[in-house]
Amino acid sequence: MSIHIEKLNYVYQSGTPFSHRALTDVSLDIADNTYTAIIGHTGSGKSTLLQHLNGLLKPTSGSLTVENNKITAETKNKELNDLRRHVGFVFQFPEAQLFEETVLKDIAFAPKNFGKSDEEAEQIAVKMAKLVGLPDSVLQKSPFELSGGQMRRVAIAGVLAMEPQILVLDEPTAGLDPKGRLEMMEMFDRLHKEQHLTIILVTHQMNDVANYADHVIVMEKGRVIADSQPAEIFSDPEWLKAHHLGLPQTTAFAAKLQQQGVPFKTLPLTEAQLAAQLADMMNEQGGGLRG
């Protein structure tokens, strides 16, 4: 499912003395089955943009089209329901929204709400629990007895139970330990590759951008200032520095080697890419010595 945004402007408290422009002329395209990372500082407009994606906000001017649903300032709130069904949202600390007696009931809540029978909703819930890697043994437990990482999986399964085609993730690993973070990111990657979900990730973690995304949007002061691929964005450390954005660890490390004279044709993004390039250089060197 694709997204097309055209000249979208959003003004908070429009027409009052507190009027504040949060998005200016945002135009972008997100293709079906892609993995897009949105990066930028607090206050750059990322969250405001996200809130348009499931109809929490409507544009002040311009438009947003998700598949065939076009949303403009004139769109009626009732017409936003379709959009909400297609776009699943994982907010920060989603486990704060758990409330049911059992894990299974919590996950089944949304499909029931959208009109599925108890039995159907439960079947969907079992399937989604499996998809996020929850063991069967926890399904009848209270979600509040689980560890933080597992609670978050329950909440994400609840979002997936609405069977969205687009999954929006707002810093989904905040507060998890490194192992939980890695498992969670691998899980989203699997959902993207196996369930063909279009993923939109808001993050400060440049390593995650390098490892998982195929499309990057950089926002600053309510505008899109770059719209490209990770390799291209991270090939310009000076530009990133000027905009207070970091590099993935690998790219930063390679840039240090480059300063010392190690000849990289292109700066690598992942450890595996860097190790492969270094191994090649060392083997050439070894070959030279032997000859």
């Binding site: 500082h41 607090t42 206050g43 560890s147 933080g148 990482g149 905040a174 507060g175 998890l176 330990d177 490194p178 192992k179 939980g180 890695l182 400060h204 440049m206 207070h244 970091g246 660890q249 690998t250 490390f253 240090k256 080697l257 010392q260 004279g261 190690v262 450890e271 595996a272 860097l274 190790a275 492969a276 270094l278 191994a279 250089m281 060392m282 060197q285």
Partner: protein
């Protein structure tokens, strides 16, 4: 020698129904002025340990001494004045309408004189580098700035020990680095004893000593550089693997021979440059 924190055979469980102890026979000695990093995966018991030290939970057995004084129901209030705690999310800690008012809150609670209060608030904001924001609304600050204000609120109370409970985990990379360097300044320059509970490898690497908590027990107590040699085991105990260790692993898989000892970023850069650029 008595330290600023001495814990002897401490046991605790959240509920009598739990078969396992949540803190199990903890012995810990922390010297005044030391920076101790406490690591462990989520649910290992490291935050529980911090709560026990601040007297927020009552142990089932064992003793805790803070600055030579035994922690009891009677001494609790006096001991808490010596300990400041900074938590994960600064948004949950704000009470004041402006930065100044927020920093003053704890002092008002303790009935400190107005004049003294003004002096302490000013001093605390200067230490964290937020003096120019005294009249600002806390909600309009960045994450790192908010956390600095929260820290100023703690410092104004003049504790001896500051406990940072994953205080950098919700900040963006810039805010994270600001807080890590502030912790360092508080420890090295201002002489506070620091306990930092963390998953952050940069934070842990600056500590004097690192303890690893797992299943409510202290399973390791070592220098950061000794701990970091453990490579991929680190992720099991709740830390990230340091970048140079990860890259060494990838290179070894490709048949490159590397020195065994722990290398920090600088030494690995040098080693690689020598290997690649030798004539």
């Amino acid at each position: 020698m008595s330290g600023i924190i001495d814990i002897k055979d401490l046991c605790f469980r959240y509920s009598q129904e739990n078969e396992e102890l949540d803190l199990s026979h903890i012995d810990l000695h922390v010297n005044e002025g030391e920076w101790l990093a406490v690591i462990g995966h989520n649910g290992s018991g490291k935050s529980t340990l911090a709560k026990a030290i601040d007297g927020l939970i009552a142990p089932e057995a064992g003793e805790i001494y803070i600055d030579g004084e035994k922690l009891t129901d009677q001494s609790l209030w006096n001991i808490r004045k010596k300990i400041g705690m900074v938590f994960q999310n600064p948004d949950n800690q704000f009470v004041g309408a402006d930065v100044e008012g927020d920093v003053a809150f704890g002092l008002e609670n303790q009935g400190i004189e107005r004049e003294e209060m003004h002096a302490r608030v000013k001093e605390a904001l200067e230490v964290v580098g937020m003096q120019d924001f005294a009249q600002h609304e806390p909600v309009r600050l960045s994450g790192g700035q908010k956390q600095r204000v929260a820290i100023a609120g703690v410092l104004a109370l003049r504790p001896k020990i500051v406990i940072f409970d994953e205080s950098t985990s919700m900040l963006d990379p810039e805010g994270r680095m600001q807080i890590i360097s502030l912790i360092r300044q508080l420890n090295k320059k201002e002489g506070f004893t620091v306990l930092s509970i963390t998953h952050d490898i940069d934070e842990a690497s600056l500590a004097d000593r690192v303890i690893v908590v797992d299943d409510g027990k202290i399973i390791d107590d070592s220098l950061p550089q000794d701990l970091f040699q453990k490579g991929n085991q680190l992720i099991e105990i709740g830390l990230d693997v340091p970048y140079p260790q990860r890259l060494k692993g990838e290179l070894a898989q490709r048949g490159i021979d590397l020195p065994q000892e722990y290398m920090d970023e600088g030494s690995l850069v040098n080693w690689l440059c020598r290997s690649i650029l030798k004539n």
